[in-house]
């Protein structure tokens, strides 16, 4: 049946054309959202990078000033190195913990689901509640961390007051939440067919050989995925650093995003903050590409051979 609406003159006539139109209608919310919430802000950020603006006085063109001042800004370099240290420790340690625990939890023992729950639950604690809880745990006189240290006969530590201990404290908080990665490993491990292990056992492969030659290669895509997600996530750590230490003591926990936030919303340096955002973007993209190149090539994909 031919329609009789006036607008049908403008609709595509062929079947393929109509299908294309339908397809674009379906994905149009995403296209609009991409333009509005990604492309336009990215343009605004570019514009801001070469301007001085405090949201009140009229913006002033300053060229590459922000890039120059970034180069000379000690706090910028501090925040970059704090975030890098945080990432370099928390991501690999979290990865090893998550993978190791997933291996142990992938056994058939009674009560294993209780263990899985206990290890997973910390990772879903809301960040603000988590921050409040750990601020109390790290209390120097009465907090759980020092209660535990003193029970072991060790001296107490002023976790949040000593610059050398504040960042390790935040890393400990991050590691408490390693369960979300662990669950993904666990699912990957459960996807490995038993026949692989049975065949290996018949060939006389021990536990270590099976881990090295079967488990790790087959789970390597998952490890790779968690590594990328972990790096991107840890470069964006904010809530804990702001609520537990607010960057202190002596900038020891001034993570990158917190510094950006302070510039934008406390000092109202919108231009400088936008320049910092671009650098964050480039660093994360650079790291991701680096990991893709040097780790991605070692990942074993089943359909690749």
């Amino acid at each position: 049946m031919m329609g009789t609406h006036w607008f049908e003159r403008f609709l595509p006539r062929t079947l393929a054309g109509r299908r294309t139109l339908t397809g674009y209608i379906f994905i149009s919310p995403f296209i609009l959202g991409f333009l509005l919430w990604f492309l336009v802000p990215a343009g605004v950020a570019l514009w801001l990078t070469v301007h001085d603006w405090n949201l009140i006085a009229p913006p002033k063109y300053v060229g590459a000033k922000h890039l120059v001042s970034m180069w000379e800004d000690d706090r910028f370099w501090t925040s970059l190195s704090v975030t890098t240290t945080y990432t370099l420790v928390s991501v690999p340690v979290g990865l090893v913990l998550g993978f190791g625990l997933a291996l142990l939890l992938n056994t058939k023992i009674r009560g294993i689901s209780l263990f899985r729950t206990i290890y997973y639950l910390p990772s879903i604690v809301p960040a603000v509640a988590n921050a409040v809880l750990w601020a109390w745990i790290f209390n120097t006189e009465y907090g759980l961390a020092n209660v535990a240290l003193r029970a072991l006969g060790l001296p107490k530590i002023a976790w949040l007051q000593q610059p050398e201990w504040a960042l390790p404290a935040l890393i400990l908080v991050a590691l408490w939440g390693f369960g979300s990665g662990m669950v993904i490993y666990l699912a990957g491990l459960q996807g490995i067919p038993d026949v692989f292990y049975e065949a290996a056992e018949i060939d006389g492969a021990g536990r270590l050989a099976r881990l090295r030659h079967i488990t790790i290669p087959l789970v390597s895509p998952v490890i790779f995925f968690n590594l990328i997600i972990g790096i991107i996530g840890s470069f964006q750590v904010f809530t804990i650093a702001r609520l537990v230490t607010n960057g202190g003591p002596q900038n020891a926990t001034l993570v990158y995003v917190l510094y950006m936030y302070q510039n934008a919303f406390q000092n109202l340096k919108m231009g400088y903050a936008a320049a910092l955002a671009w650098v964050l973007f480039l660093v994360v993209v650079g790291l991701t590409l680096f990991v893709f190149k040097y780790v991605g090539s070692r990942v074993h994909y089943e359909d690749a051979h």
């Binding site: 299908r19 339908t22 674009y24 379906f26 994905i27 919310p29 995403f30 609009l32 959202g33 919430w37 990604f38 336009v40 802000p41 950020a45 801001l48 949201l55 142990l104 939890l105 056994t107 023992i109 206990i118 290890y119 910390p122 879903i124 809301p126 960040a127 603000v128 509640a129 921050a131 409040v132 809880l133 750990w134 601020a135 109390w136 209390n139 006189e141 009465y142 759980l144 209660v147 408490w176 669950v183 993904i184 699912a187 996807g191 895509p221 998952v222 995925f225 968690n226 991107i232 964006q236 809530t239 950006m260 934008a264 919303f265 936008a274 955002a277 964050l280 973007f281 994360v284 991701t288």
Partner: protein
């Protein structure tokens, strides 16, 4: 006993005797359980500490060594903490945001996901690559320019910045999740619909969406968690106390109550409890969401 002996010896000379294998297995099991138990105690201790502290009177908070059973037991902490700041109102605000986000994301992301999953058209792969690319862009990169845009729109101190953007695609991760799910449904269902004269929109709405309850549940749970946990969004955009969410309410409560750790722990437990309950009732969907995000890329 004799039976066992025979089985063991029938294995041939190159195999270790059965009793050794059995003992080795038992030893491994014991080791695993031991390691897991120690780890579980370490993981659970902060929760125990949270709960114990939340039921103590203030004078029992500052005692060393700490008491592990609160005496006197003081549940009034919860009442005091939750009425000190209008947490009832904060809860109501959070729920309003959650409901709007649910409507936005479930509709918008499933709609887009359907287009990417089941309609073949030129340019689709390009746009889908863009979906995956936005998945990789850190939120904080666009925080400042988005803030300036929303300021221009007059959206400061309203829920708009926390809700309206989600009507446009509902987030790359959710589109991705729906796409993966729709791809797993059989094409015959859509064909049957076409024969009956259904348009593509009808197939999406009347056939595919009703079959997508697991995906809808997973996305709904993650949407709830994101809104419930969000700190940076409300921190940037909500100014008046009567607009606060639970998360931002707890953060300001912390700055007011600096050392009243018993009340702070009570408020924190109250914020964590719904999340844990949700986990126990919908455990399957939690894992599904994580796994779908991690494995089927």
């Amino acid at each position: 006993m004799a039976q066992k002996q025979r089985v063991a010896s029938s294995g041939g000379g190159f195999r270790p005797p059965l009793h050794r294998v059995v003992w080795e297995r038992r030893l491994w099991r014991f080791l695993i359980v031991a390691i897991l138990s120690i780890g579980a105690v370490v993981m659970a201790l902060p929760f125990v500490w949270l709960l114990v502290s939340s039921f103590k009177p203030l004078e029992k908070i500052f005692i060393f060594p700490p008491e592990w059973i609160p005496d006197p037991f003081r549940p009034e902490n919860y009442v005091e903490a939750l009425v000190y700041k209008p947490f009832g109102l904060y809860l109501w605000n959070t729920l309003r945001i959650v409901v709007l986000n649910l409507a936005a994301i479930l509709l918008s992301a499933s709609f887009c996901g359907y287009g990417f999953a089941r309609i073949r058209f030129p340019g689709r792969d390009f746009w889908f690559a863009l979906v995956l690319a936005t998945l990789m862009i850190p939120y904080f990169v666009l925080m400042v320019p988005q803030f300036i845009m929303f300021t221009r729109f007059g959206w400061i101190d309203t829920f708009h910045p926390l809700t309206i953007p989600f009507f446009f695609g509902g987030g790359a991760f959710n589109i991705f999740l729906f796409r993966q799910f729709f791809r797993s449904l059989p094409e015959e269902l859509a064909d049957a619909g076409r024969i009956d004269g259904c348009t593509e929109y009808g197939i999406y709405w009347r056939i595919m969406l009703p079959l997508s309850k697991p995906a809808l549940a997973t996305v709904a749970i993650f949407t709830f968690l994101a809104a419930w946990n969000d700190y940076i969004g409300p921190l940037l955009y909500l100014r008046s106390d009567y607009n606060f969410t639970v998360a931002i309410g707890l953060a300001t409560f912390r700055s007011v109550m600096s050392t009243q750790w018993n009340l702070l722990m009570a408020a924190s437990s109250a914020m964590i409890l719904p999340v844990i309950l949700l986990f126990f009732f919908a455990q399957r969907y939690f894992v599904d969401g994580l796994v779908l995000s991690g494995l089927k890329g």
